[in-house]
Amino acid sequence: MIGAGNVLFVIAGILALAGALITVSSRNPIRGAMGLLATIFGIALLFLKLNAQFLAAIQVIVYAGAVVVLFVFVIMLLGPDALGEVGSFPKGKSKVSRGIGGGLLAILAGVALVLLAGRGGAHVRFGDVQPDHGSVEAVGGLLFSRGLVAFELATALLIVAVIGAIAVARGKQTKSHLTPAQRGDGEFFHGTVVARDDRGRPPSKGDG
């Protein structure tokens, strides 16, 4: 019998898988980002199916609302350069790349399927859960009681991310790529280190 719940699982699963495949295979990163979005929504649906309402909401808000948007923003910022891969995949050496990629995928997926399903073991059916399983109250209550320590630790993480992202990315946003000659670092113009640079870049005394 295929009930409504089962349909939801199938649809969400297919959505997630298809999105994932698009993400890793599309040449255009925008399309990849859209694939990621699909996966995220698929997984959010599965969260709902698993009584994880709170996480489903967070998943959509944070991933779709922040992460994917950030990706899209950066891709837009870079413009056509974001395509990045000229001729490597899926064009040019594509047969080899695709072969390797496909092979790896098949092997790893097979291994994962075989192992994770707990071969030969009985399937674990979900039982009943409390009505507040996965609700905002339940998870939130836990976050501010037992999980408070981890929560506080996460603040440090966010501070680091903020400072770090600013420190690394701030500055002139002009598209003024260094010429190959400038790409060497002022730090590294001595001796053989530069000689090893196969692009033949002459040393630069500047430090950007």
Binding site: L115, L116, G118, G121, G147, V149, A150, L153, A154, A156, L157, I159, V160, A161, I163, G164, A165, I166, A167, V168, R170, G171, K172, L178, R183, G184, D185, G186, E187, F188, F189, H190, G191, T192, V193, R196, K205, G206, D207, G208
Partner: protein, 515 residues
Amino acid sequence: MDLVIALSPLLAVGFGGLMLMLAEAFGKPSEEGISKTTGDVVDAGAGRGAELGLGASVVLIAGAVMAVGVWIVGPETLEGVADVAPYLLIDRFSLFFTFVLCLGGAFTALLGGGYLPEHRIDRSEFFPLVLFSTFGAIALAMSGDLLSLFVGLETMSLGVYCLIGLRRGSARATEAALKYFLLGSFAAALTLFGAALLYGATGHTDLVGIGEAVATIGQPDSTVAAMPVLLALALTLAGLGFKVAAVPFHQWTPDAYEGAPTPATAFMAAVVKTAAFAILLRVLLVGFGEERLMSWGTGWPPVIATLAVLSMTVGNVVAGRQESVKRMLAYSSIAHAGVALVGVAATIRSTEDATASVLFYLLVYTVSTAGAFGALILCGSRGAEAVSYEDLAGIAKRHPAAALAFSLFLLSLAGFPPTAGFFGKLYVFQSAIDSELYVLVIIGLVNSLIGAYYYVRVMVYMYMREPVPGAPVAKPMSSGMVTSAIVLAALLVLGLGILPGVSLDMAIAAAARGG
């Protein structure tokens, strides 16, 4: 109140970081010579590297002192400690690591305070990043739960990625940051999947609970499946092996070490590696400490032993072929991770002694490697940095003190008596002998022979070679902060060598509580 005392090292570092941020944000940029010290970027707090570095090192040393204080008070007498468990375990094991990590962070801050202005990358973000990254490292070392493990690991790692990428104008630095970031995130994802499997199999995320659940496998009424646990073990080992830079999860190391600003390199070698070993020990001994998993046939000890052999051999062999001293030190750090892994594998028999030997080794390695990078910094100056062996030719004549200090740290890294490095190796190999891992010991000793070659090679260049006429040479810089860091490290290297007993006793005490 007890809890505040117990957490004081962590709190000190965290609040210190916040204060430093405020000081940076509301401080006036140094008027004089900003363009001289920061390149093109002028921001609040820019050009104050020396002051901020001093502040950061004071905070971190305060953290170390507080760790000692809590040690003396005795973490087991503090009542509130149980409240933060299992996310943060305040025991002697984590206090030992807190001390070592604060020490490593303090070295980094001092080195940064001298290095950044000299090389015109005096970015004020450096020091809060060091503090928060150390914060993450301490949290990682303290964590007794996969959740805080993950959060601490990421806090530490994100900070380090940014420390490397801080040198915005440098393609090499950015490249190093990019590589480390991509592979680091990948490894973190692997670890996470392992965590998920463990949770699925055991229903626990705390290591003690996991350990207990794993022990029930095979009992008739057990609901825990063996296979996810084993898979999770493999994934966890891969993820943590990445952070400790064990072969074959090591390849990011030389690239990231070479591209990063040297103080950041020192941070990676000293702090990141130490914290990763702390959690590796805790995970293996608590989470996977079950008898069957610690058996030589099927458990993790043979895997760790293999990683150790590979790391020592590959690290040493490739280090000998480097032209860049910094890159050589990167490979040597891989080799040192291998030696520490020998100690981890030795926990198979004499668990406490072996753990203690790893702890002591990490302390020694932290001090020695921070000193070595400090000496490398001191040997160079803007536009004439010490990078390759040739750059260092004849430096003993131009800056005898720097050359002498460098030699001392190199000898310690090579394991010559009576430096600290010798005792580090001695204890590790001794515990391996106790566990009858003779092959490991022999391979380790042969490797330290190979290692002596390239460490001595640096000294040969410094003392016995003259620079080729016209070739670029490193011009030594002068910086009180770098000098003080080196002096501190040198005192510790000699002190730990002449009187290793005290710190070893502490390591043994730490291992007894933590294992």
